[in-house]
Symmetry: C2
Subunit: 149 residues, 2 copies
């Protein structure tokens, strides 16, 4: 039987969050955290609105998921995020001991792969899920921003 | 003329914060952020109380200082923190473009130096200020914790 709740399904939810960020004038990155086929956190980047460089989608998702679970470790959880995590977010994910990270587009310049940020030994990471959609939204954001200025 | 508000002065304030963390049963790390000889953020680790791996002293200090300044960039600010920042905190400091980081004790295992976390080109980092005091407090915490379990 095909499971309809696959990585693409949850990444679509993360992309919806990224679109919400876009609509608010934020760099469009969205995230969801899932445990046992249940979404326990849905967040998007809010660095501009909150005036806070720490308000990346992943950081808020980690805090929200821990609140939901009543514990700070995200064992058996999967993070879906439309853009490869940065050093800060990968560092936070390290502390959370999350089981799996699924990202969409690569961030060749400031992503955790290029910068070789250490992940927790318990964490698996896969990428490229709906990467083109995530990347297209980011490109559209920066083109529109440039044209407005 | 000797400036009484030197790195040691502010690191003592950060150590007072670390002591507050200790008194709450938190891993004792404290931080302050200073701009033009004025402390604009005082924070300590709250990961246990908040059930949140992102609640390191530095992360809270970045958010608090940005709130105070009304902008997300910490230009001309110095962070004093009793323990060398981890990947997450160094990653957040990267985004903040903070001018200077002064830490106390080294974290040989999970600190940003050992893990080679990228700092912003605008950021200088110095360490070893009141390192023994910071380290002694951490050691006392872990010994007491072990003896209680």
């Amino acid at each position: 039987m095909i499971n309809p709740f696959d990585d693409t399904y949850y990444m679509k939810k993360a992309l919806q969050e990224a679109q919400e960020a876009f609509d608010k004038g934020e760099i469009p990155v969205g995230a969801v955290i899932v445990i046992k086929d249940r979404i326990i956190a849905r967040t998007h980047n809010l660095t501009e609105l909150l005036n806070d460089v720490t308000a990346h989608a992943e950081m808020q998702a980690i805090t929200a998921a821990a609140n939901f679970l009543g514990g700070k470790y995200l064992t058996n959880c999967t993070l879906y995020v439309t853009l490869e995590p940065c050093q800060m977010c990968a560092g936070a994910l390290y502390w959370s001991q999350i089981s799996k990270i699924v990202y969409g587009a690569r961030d060749e310049e400031r992503g955790c792969i290029a910068l070789d940020t250490k992940l927790h030994p318990k964490t698996k990471m896969v990428g490229g899920i709906l990467a083109e959609e995530a990347s297209a939204l980011l490109k559209r954001f920066f083109i529109e921003k440039r044209n407005l200025n």
